[in-house]
């Protein structure tokens, strides 16, 4: 790596937090309630643990190969061509993740805020914004995330805390759920929610630029505790205010929660506008991360010195994939399916790499 190792542990954690908090917060309570009704917060917690597995694996691998990104050490571990095939899968998955996040963003905007603006325009603008930002190097990438993460976390927490004044604890009981949903549905839900966290896989390309790569695990634990904590809080607030049955009627329960919440003394009677503003930023940081991952890893795959030219080269492809789902219900079906399959890539693949690395006794040079 030519660039200096400049990213601190706190910055790495900030990258994870603002990457994880993304477009998924809107339907999150709906997914959770479909998995366990009143047990939704608990299920979200379990899902965060599942997602944690991916991050731990990536951190351990990254600490084992402190100066290489996942594409590079996979070639060391399992050989040149198998490693490249693995990398192509990861890159393709992240490109699709970018597309789907952009599309979901577009759908929310067109339904809730700007009904007459063409979907193509909102999606293009967002992707363009991400594409332009990915022309920076990884240090700037870290700075941008570090700048936005308090702006995401603060208002999101404020809104959920304010919403809690309408809360009714009986909606949260029993904390295991009423058992109306079979074990299959629950596992399906856990995997879906865990898949909302998987853009945190971007850590795999952050570690080689960390000032102290051996602290990657610490960064990922902090990142997960804070973002997972926020997810659980959001589900907790939504379920306790609406009750699990009402949430089943709402496409984006978190947005409804913001609508039903007002600032004290009615300074703002509904917070959905404020919430959406924060949420747009959150979507941007997520898109930025997944796009950046796609572009830099693609650059590494072709051994390019500079990934910048790929930013715009990728844009039409990502845009076209985003336009593929035919309607909003199909889009969510695709998001669930792709997300669950993605867990194979974000958990299975690094686990496989790590086991092979152990077996073959491969490790990177320590710096």
């Amino acid at each position: 790596m030519a660039e200096a190792r400049q990213i601190t542990t706190i910055q790495a954690a900030a990258i994870l937090i603002s990457t994880i908090i993304g477009v998924g917060v809107l339907p999150l309570p709906l997914f959770a309630v479909h998995a366990a009704e009143s047990g939704a917060p608990f299920i979200t917690f379990i899902s965060a643990l599942v997602a944690m597995a991916s991050l731990v694996l990536v951190s351990v691998l990254g600490m084992r190969f402190p100066s290489q990104t996942i594409g590079q050490y996979s070639e060391t571990i399992i050989g040149k061509w198998p490693g490249r095939i693995g990398s192509i899968m990861v890159i393709a998955f992240f490109a699709i993740l970018t597309s789907l996040a952009a599309r979901e963003f577009g759908e929310v905007v067109i339904t809730a805020v700007l009904p007459r603006t063409p979907l193509e325009v909102t999606v293009t603008v967002m992707l363009l914004l991400a594409a332009i930002s990915t022309r920076n190097n990884i240090t700037t990438f870290a700075y941008i995330h570090f700048f936005y993460f308090p702006l995401l976390l603060g208002p999101a927490l404020l809104i959920t805390v304010l919403a809690l004044k309408n809360a009714d604890t009986i909606n949260l009981l029993p904390i295991w759920g009423n058992g109306n949903i079979g074990i299959k549905g629950t596992i399906d839900g856990i995997l879906t929610i865990a898949s909302l966290f998987q853009s945190a896989f971007v850590l795999a390309i952050v570690i080689p630029s960390m000032r102290r790569p051996n602290r990657a695990l610490r960064a990922s634990i902090w990142g997960m505790v804070i973002s997972g904590g926020l997810y659980v809080t959001i589900v907790l607030a939504t379920v306790s205010v609406f009750g699990s049955e009402e949430i089943k009627n709402l496409l984006w329960p978190t947005l409804e929660l913001a609508k039903a919440t007002s600032l004290p003394a009615n300074v703002l009677e509904r917070l959905d506008a404020a919430f959406l503003a924060v949420w747009v930023t959150a979507v941007f940081t997520t898109l930025f991360s997944t796009y950046f991952f796609t572009v830099t890893e693609l650059g590494n795959l072709f051994h390019l010195k500079d990934h910048k030219m790929l930013s715009f080269f990728l844009l039409p492809i990502v845009f076209l994939v985003a336009m593929l789902p035919q309607n909003i219900l199909q889009m969510y079906e695709v998001i669930r399916n792709i997300g669950q399959m993605g867990l194979i890539i974000t958990i299975g693949y690094p686990a496989f790499l790590l086991i092979i690395a152990w077996v073959r006794g491969k490790r990177g040079d320590r710096t």
Partner: protein
């Protein structure tokens, strides 16, 4: 770009790169140049402040214009019809401050809003019929009050709830109410106090909540309650009086989406006692012996705790209620309020009176299979095992609700007697 320096061919490439960049920058500004798609000037909006929905006779179908469907086509929805009334704010007429516009009583309030009504099969059908005769685009972001007539509420308001939930402009903080008689009359009413009639309706409800006359029950809360498996929703039941004001006549309670009954106004207080809701706003007579020895008390604070256990295979509830009271008036001088033992006596009598009223309210809702208190939610939350094996669904709880037993343990204490010494 361009940290690398090299020969002529590379320079060429750099020049090409630069022009490409310029092109991209130019292209990327295109989406910004188009302006805002969703620009809608306030004058072009028809800001809907209130909606009323009445059930009407299907024979009025002839009066409906063929806007969303052609008459006689297979697409005609059939079934019952509604009459939808809307109150639209007239831009510029609503005075922003007390001094502005010099509103002169009734006359001015008539002109701040524009009331229209149209028939239709469904809410959207009626709204489209209305839009066809209206220049401004209907906008629901400021919708504050939804009035439903009793006859429609008894038929069911599934369609109304569906439309409102789906519409992204609506706030969950609007009030929905059921009215005795025609709902359209409330839209047309012109109360003296407020220059915008719907705002009067809204402030009536908001201050009722503040004074403890009604539990907080925005439409979003009604929806949440109605969705729950172990609870039913309720709405305020109002009636228009001859001075164009509205009276809170009780709670209209529902079974799923259908209204099944209505309580007396005093039973709102009873409901709030059972749920332990504050502030407390109702007064009650307490009689000590003969009618001359009657006092009136008002509650200042209430607490309640609901415990559930399973007895003989059915849920049994113990409701512990504590109310704090003040004495507000007495009927005659036959009673001298100067000993604390007397206040204890008043408290005792109040407990008795309360007990009979809570039991009659429970009995009434049991007969309608409408658990507005959410006892079922307690079973679901506290006895999940029992719920799973015996209840499971909303319909099953509606069946079981009349068979549950409830014991009340009421404690009332009088604390103050006002400024008079005896």
């Amino acid at each position: 770009m361009g940290a690398r320096e090299a020969g002529g061919s590379d320079l060429n490439a750099r020049a090409w790169c630069k022009s490409a960049l310029a092109l991209i920058a130019l292209l990327s500004s295109v989406p910004l140049l188009t302006g805002c798609w969703d620009r809608l000037e306030i004058e072009d909006r028809a800001v809907v402040l209130g909606i009323s929905v009445d059930a009407i006779d299907p024979s009025e179908a002839e009066k409906e214009d063929e806007i969303t469907h052609l008459r006689g086509s297979y697409l005609e929805p059939g079934g019952s019809m509604i009459r939808l009334g809307v109150q639209i704010a007239v831009p510029g007429r609503i005075p922003l401050g007390p001094g502005e516009g010099g509103g002169s009583g009734q006359g001015s309030s008539k002109r701040t809003v524009w009331v229209m009504d149209v028939p239709g099969y469904t809410i959207d059908d009626a709204l489209m019929n209305l839009q066809q005769q209206l220049s401004g685009q209907l906008f629901f972001g400021h919708l504050r009050v939804i009035v439903v007539s009793e006859s429609l509420a008894r038929k069911g308001i599934q369609n109304l709830n569906d439309y409102l939930r789906r519409n992204s402009q609506l706030r969950r903080m609007a009030w929905m109410m059921v009215t005795k008689g025609k709902a359209l009359d409330l839209m047309k009413s012109a109360p003296e106090l407020e220059r915008v009639p719907t705002l009067y309706l809204m402030s009536t409800m908001d201050s009722a909540v503040r004074m403890g006359k009604f539990p907080t029950n925005y439409v979003g809360m009604y929806w949440s309650r109605a969705s729950k498996k172990g609870q039913e929703g309720f709405l305020p039941y109002v009636e228009m009086k001859k001075e164009q004001n509205i009276e809170l006549k009780g709670m209209a309670y529902f079974k799923k989406d259908r209204m099944v009954g209505v309580t007396k106004p005093f039973e709102i207080a009873t409901y709030m006692v059972i749920k332990g809701l504050n502030p407390a706003g109702y007064r009650a007579f307490v009689r000590l012996g003969n009618p001359e020895r009657t006092v009136m008390v008002y509650a200042t604070s209430r607490k309640s705790k609901i415990n559930v256990d399973i007895r003989n295979g059915l849920p049994h509830f113990d409701v512990n209620i504590f109310t704090e009271l003040n004495l507000e008036e007495k009927v005659s001088n036959e009673l001298t309020v100067n000993r604390s033992s007397l206040l204890r006596e008043v408290g005792k009598q109040n407990e008795k009176a309360l007990l009979s009223s809570v039991e009659s309210l429970i009995e009434q809702t049991k007969q309608a299979h409408s658990d507005i208190f959410g006892f079922g939610e307690y079973v679901r939350a506290m006895k999940p095992g029992y719920w799973r094996t015996h209840v499971k669904s909303k319909e099953a709880w509606q069946e079981m609700y009349p068979r549950i037993t409830v014991d009340f343990h009421i404690h009332s204490r009088i604390r103050r007697i006002g400024m008079k010494a005896r």
